[in-house]
């Protein structure tokens, strides 16, 4: 076997292995965020004596605050690079994308920097979320009659 072919073969398996590793890391970190969310809901509903649905709103605000703060402090980028989808898919990714866009365009000023670029990455989530929710909502309302 030629040296070049062998290298190709090794690279192929190597890439596969890192893919599996990435998937496992994403599964574990994502799972931890999910378990943490459940834990926060339990804590809030127990100590503040509120319903589970109210506690889940508190939980989401907490996670967003933590993700924004960690991004501002600078080390959340490394975490996201490590965990990839494990932190991008949960709501932390939404906060991280807004915060990193804000930091990146800060030097261009308050209006044309932060103001117009803060939704640069998160905007697509809101756009497609709203359009699809409106579309599916209309279908459901017309076919099944609301909730």
């Amino acid at each position: 076997m030629e040296k070049k072919d062998y290298k190709k073969l090794v690279d192929k398996y190597k890439a596969k292995e890192t893919r599996i590793q990435n998937a496992i890391i994403a599964f574990l970190t994502g799972g931890l965020v999910g378990a943490l969310a459940e834990f926060l809901i339990q804590v809030y509903s127990y100590f503040l004596d509120i319903s589970t649905s109210d506690a889940s709103v508190f939980m989401i605000v907490t996670l967003i605050f933590v993700a924004s703060l960690f991004t501002a402090l600078g080390f959340f980028d490394k975490w996201v690079n490590f965990a990839r989808c494990g932190l991008i898919i949960p709501i932390t990714g939404f906060a991280h994308s807004m915060m990193s866009a804000g930091m990146e365009y800060k030097r261009e000023g308050l209006i044309y920097g932060i103001g117009s670029n803060i939704f640069k990455l998160a905007g697509s989530v809101i756009l497609y979320g709203v359009v699809s929710a409106w579309f599916f909502g209309t279908i459901r309302y017309l076919l099944f009659g609301g909730v």
């Binding site: 605000v61 939404f94 803060i118 459901r140 309302y141």
Partner: protein, 116 residues
């Protein structure tokens, strides 16, 4: 038990996202947008509600629940005001998330200096 379900569900959603990210040309932006649409779609048949009932907090953190909350608020208002209610109630349930993200981001961006 809810902790285990939360771990497994949220982990599984992230796993699917990571597999798509690694094996196709789609970027993280594509995947999050796709997952929001999937979340809204699943709620058309009330599937996501059932998942939340069983899984708890783990189903509320992935971005799919964002789409679910959007359509849920819209339908709740639609029950009251008819088809125009869909546009009135769209952000009802996600208001806390979006508002807090905007406010925290703005304040923290002003305070902290970007590295590099």
């Amino acid at each position: 038990m809810t902790y285990l379900y939360s771990f497994l569900f949220c982990g599984a959603v992230c796993l699917i996202g990571q597999v798509i990210l690694d094996n196709t040309k789609l970027t993280a932006g594509h995947i999050t947008s796709l997952f929001v649409v999937i979340g809204a779609f699943l709620d058309t048949f009330s599937i996501y509600d059932k998942i939340i009932k069983y899984v708890g907090g783990g189903a509320l953190v992935p971005i799919t629940s964002f789409g679910h909350s959007l359509i849920h608020g819209a339908l709740a208002k639609a029950n009251e005001f008819g088809i125009i209610g869909l546009v009135m109630g769209m952000f009802d349930l996600t208001a806390a998330g979006i508002t807090s993200a905007i406010v925290f981001t703005f304040i923290l961006t002003l305070i902290f200096k970007p590295k590099d």
